[in-house]
């Protein structure tokens, strides 16, 4: 089944770091721009970061949202068919469900979402 599966969530202390992973099953992530989107409980969606496809004019292009720029890093591992997100110096505002999302190659809509991995920042 074509799907995205996130892992790495859990309880993190304020000031700590987290590393989230997203693996694709039954398809290759490499031609797609991959994104992380998070959602605090009961609140809005917030785009966090994206990494461009492994080939093409936007190959490897990386963008970050304002709330995580400077303390986050996104990367992809084609050998493992996965994408990773590292977030440092976390605060309670980083608590939420983190989704891995695939973007369409032409029309840029988000056409495949993982189920999410829950991150809770608390002492």
């Amino acid at each position: 089944e074509v799907q995205l599966v996130e892992s790495g969530g859990g309880l993190v202390k304020p000031g700590g770091s987290l590393r989230l992973s997203c693996r694709g099953t039954d398809f290759s992530l490499s031609p797609f721009t991959m994104n992380w989107v998070r959602q605090p409980p009961g609140k809005a969606l917030e785009w966090i970061s994206s990494v461009g496809p492994s080939v093409g004019s936007d190959s490897g292009e990386i963008f970050y949202g304002d709330s995580v720029r400077g303390r986050s890093s996104i990367s992809r591992d084609d050998g493992d068919n996965s994408v990773h997100l590292v977030l440092n110096n976390v605060t309670a505002e980083d608590t939420g469900l983190y989704f891995c999302v695939r973007r369409g190659r032409v029309t840029y809509y988000f056409n495949l979402w993982g189920r999410g991995t829950l991150v809770t920042v608390s002492s």
């Binding site: 994206s50 292009e61 963008f63």
Partner: protein
């Protein structure tokens, strides 16, 4: 930066029509295509509309999208409301490679 402002909540009766707006600050609504997503309780978001007014695969024609440059806003119109339409709706736009979501609108159908 881009700020997309949506009403926090709307409510309407079954069979009626509702319009959810998404007003852009920081640039023109026409600068980039607008998308709309539906998120039912306990579920992941799904795409309804892309490129302002194109329905995603399998989305019924009760859902339609548009933009209005005079008000710098986008709209999602849902006609013939059904109880299953009760959900949160988010607009999305791109700006310089980054993605911005609206704050979401919760639709109650009662």
């Amino acid at each position: 930066n881009v700020l997309l402002t949506q009403p926090h909540s709307v409510s309407e009766s079954p069979g009626k029509t509702v319009i959810i707006t998404c007003t852009r600050s920081g640039g023109s609504i026409g600068d980039s295509y607008v998308q709309w997503y539906q998120q039912r309780p306990g579920s992941v978001p799904t795409c309804l509309i892309y490129e302002n007014d194109e329905r995603f695969y399998g989305v019924p024609d009760r859902f339609s999208g548009s933009i209005d440059k005079s008000s710098n806003s986008a709209s999602l119109t849902i006609s013939g409301l059904k109880t299953e339409d009760e959900a949160a709706y988010f607009c999305l736009a791109y700006f310089k490679g980054r993605v911005f979501f609206g704050g979401g609108t919760h639709l109650t159908v009662l």
